[in-house]
């Protein structure tokens, strides 16, 4: 590397170090109420500061933060959404203990309710896919029969390790019709186990043309993924 370029690179490195130091200062503790107040601010820099603080908060902040999802100021909703994501990612970091992640997943599962807004429902299901365990599968599976939530619920179940998610989708596809059935069939095709393949093969023989066609397509896609060789 030439000397002038090395100097410039060092300057950039120093700048990044200052940025990191500023972030560390911003980790000072806030209460949940203070976090919510900052997120609800009309001042964008306050909202961003809150969002950057949010990762350190645990399940006690899930309810108050998601309560901002239906705020009149759309910027507040956006800041709250990304704050919740930061909290979940922090709880699921490699060095976190299982109890921390489990508590966050339980708090998210507790949000799932027919009275919730679609924003909260979709976000909770999305994040359960990232931090949930088989313990939350029954709560998620309840939303597999609703055309408004089947895709988000199935996506969460696909991401949760273990067989419980697949078993829930196999149960739900029995008797499912129309768009819900199509979504479930393609979601089941994301699973690599023999049970998924066997069920899809059986569904190709369905008397319901929509289901038979979806199963045929899903199997062809599934086989592509399973065959990947890099």
């Amino acid at each position: 590397m030439t000397k002038p370029m090395r100097v410039v690179m060092m300057a950039i490195g120093c700048g990044l170090a200052v940025f990191a130091a500023q972030s560390a200062v911003a980790d000072a503790h806030l209460s949940v109420d203070e976090l919510v107040e900052m997120l609800a601010s009309d001042d964008g820099s306050e909202r961003l500061k809150a969002r950057n603080h949010a990762a350190a908060f645990g399940p006690e902040a899930v309810g108050p933060v998601t309560a901002l999802f239906d705020h009149d100021n759309r910027n507040v909703y956006i800041a709250a959404k990304w704050s919740l994501r930061n909290m979940v990612h922090h709880s699921a970091r490699p060095e976190a203990d299982d109890a921390e992640q489990a508590a966050m997943a339980e708090a998210l599962a507790a949000l799932l309710d027919e009275d919730q807004s679609s924003r909260v429902m979709h976000e909770a299901l999305y994040l359960l896919g990232l931090c949930g365990t088989e313990d939350q599968v029954p709560a998620i599976a309840e939303w597999l029969n609703d055309s408004a939530t089947v895709d988000a619920a199935a996506a969460a179940l696909i991401r949760i390790p273990g067989d419980a998610g697949l078993e829930a989708m196999l149960d739900a596809v029995d008797g499912a019709e129309g768009d819900v059935a199509v979504s479930l069939i393609h979601a089941i095709a994301q699973e690599e186990g023999a049970a998924a393949r066997e069920r899809l093969e059986a569904l190709t023989e369905s008397d319901d043309d929509t289901i038979a066609e979806a199963a045929t397509k899903a199997l062809s896609i599934r086989d592509l993924r399973v065959d990947y060789e890099g």
């Binding site: 990044l16 909202r47 922090h90 970091r93 979709h122 066609e213």
Partner: protein, 439 residues
């Protein structure tokens, strides 16, 4: 509004009777176009680059005939149809109707990134060759599915990243690959900041626009006009910001210059400054570091980063390649190709027996398109194949993932797996699409 053909209306009203696309159809096709044949094409996605490609395939290529158009916005269909004689093209709002036609050899996808994989895989299954815009894919599994579909169905898939077709880049590639800078140990990419904006509320979709079809594989959300038509690139779930846009071009030539097309980084670190307001959600400023432990190499992406002040003019984006013998700045990626201070790199001629870069007949985007048509006939691998394009998209995917997760990602580039981070693995490798739009 310009005319919409009868077929278009049939497609628009026939969502419940979507065409069946299954691999068995491939076996029944009569074959690929021969050297003297006209290539018949369908163009899907008619805004921005999609419309540019459509125009070239229609008006410039003399061995190509565009006979079908598709977009989820009927206003865009109308605008595109105005370039054709009555009856010359059929138009659709669902691309699957084009894939179902036996009289179409190839398709162009100028759709947003989140659609590329599903559409390309479906096209390969239907026996079509594919020209697809960059970035190739939005997730790692999507890229893997595109690679597999291309191979399994024996299709030609060219990705619309034209850096390897620009006049000066092959010479610069040979200059670096033949060791004129010594061993490259660090690359510093610079780019201007991401956009801030988007203030619309969620609202009902207009009659001319099929929101559900635009979303396709993406997670559902209410319609909002800020998401599409030129602004989708400013959302992490759709376009992924500039690291996916021009960054793909910069990373494309970097991968070529350094011989990285079949591998990837081993550790990814990212920081960024989230926007304070507006619907756009990409970080306004961003720094990403890709480490290659197996290559003793570090690559930095910085927005805004350091502009090394070319002797000619301001260069909004480019890369500085630091070797053990010298450093070389190269601007652009999709355009550009000025190199300094060693200007001889632009005209470099590789020594006998040295690395020789592939060259195309035409310069830039036309060269990339021409190469695609030639490969459709010759069945040779195109200059921007899906395997390399999947690897190149992986840089941006991993960079954005490290930013969103707020921590570094350890990556196994051989097996394409995250090491030691269960959530990151779920985030990167278990994204599943929506409804029937899954690969």
């Amino acid at each position: 509004m310009s005319k919409i053909s009868r077929r278009h209306f049939l497609a628009a009203g026939a969502a419940a009777a979507a065409p069946l696309i299954v691999p068995s159809r491939v076996l029944g096709r009569s074959g690929n176009p021969g050297p003297n044949d006209q290539i018949t094409m369908g163009c899907i996605g008619l805004g921005g680059m999609g419309n540019s490609h459509r125009g070239w395939f229609t008006d410039v290529a003399d061995d190509c005939r565009v006979i079908a158009l598709c977009d989820v916005d009927t206003q865009r269909i109308g605008a595109a149809e105005s370039h054709y004689e009555s009856g010359e093209v059929d138009s659709y709002t669902d691309y699957r109707y084009i894939l179902d036609r036996d009289d179409i050899d190839a398709v162009m996808f100028g759709t947003p990134c989140h659609w590329h994989a599903v559409q390309t895989v479906h096209a390969c299954q239907a026996g079509k060759d594919v020209y697809v815009e960059k970035a190739a894919c939005g997730t790692i599994p999507e890229g893997q599915a595109m690679v597999n579909a291309t191979r399994k169905y024996g299709r030609i898939v060219q990705v619309g990243s034209q850096g390897r077709c620009l006049n000066r880049f092959p010479s610069i590639c040979e200059f670096i690959r033949n060791g004129e800078l010594g061993k490259i140990q660090q690359v510093d990419l610079w780019h201007y900041e991401n956009n801030v904006g988007g203030g619309s509320q969620d609202q009902p979709e207009p009659d001319h626009f099929d929101w559900d079809m635009w979303l396709g594989p993406a997670r559902w959300r209410p319609h909002n006009p800020d998401y599409y038509h030129g602004s989708w690139r400013h959302f992490l779930d759709f376009g992924g910001g500039m690291i996916f846009d021009r960054g793909t071009h910069q990373l494309n030539v970097l991968s070529w210059f350094l011989g990285l097309d079949d591998t990837g980084p081993t550790k990814i670190t990212a920081t960024g400054h989230a926007p304070e307001h507006g619907n756009y959600d990409c970080p306004t400023t961003m720094s990403v570091t890709w480490e290659f432990a197996h290559r003793d190499l570090v690559v930095h992406w910085r927005q805004p980063g350091f502009d090394p002040q070319s002797p000619d003019q301001e260069r909004p984006y480019g890369g500085i390649y630091h070797g053990t013998r010298a450093s070389l700045a190269v601007d652009g990626g999709d355009i550009g190709g000025r190199a300094w201070p060693l200007r001889e790199a632009e005209e470099y001629e590789a020594p006998a027996g040295g690395f020789q870069a592939q060259r195309t007949e035409l310069n830039g985007a036309p060269g990339n398109r021409r190469n695609f048509l030639d490969c459709v006939k010759s069945r040779e691998e195109p200059i921007m194949p899906i395997e390399a394009s999947h690897r190149i998209a992986s840089y941006s995917i991993l960079g954005n993932a490290a930013y969103r997760l707020g921590r570094p990602i350890e990556w196994d580039p051989e097996n394409e797996q995250v090491v030691g981070d269960e959530e990151a693995n779920r985030f990167l490798l278990r994204e599943s699409g929506r409804g029937p739009w899954r690969v």
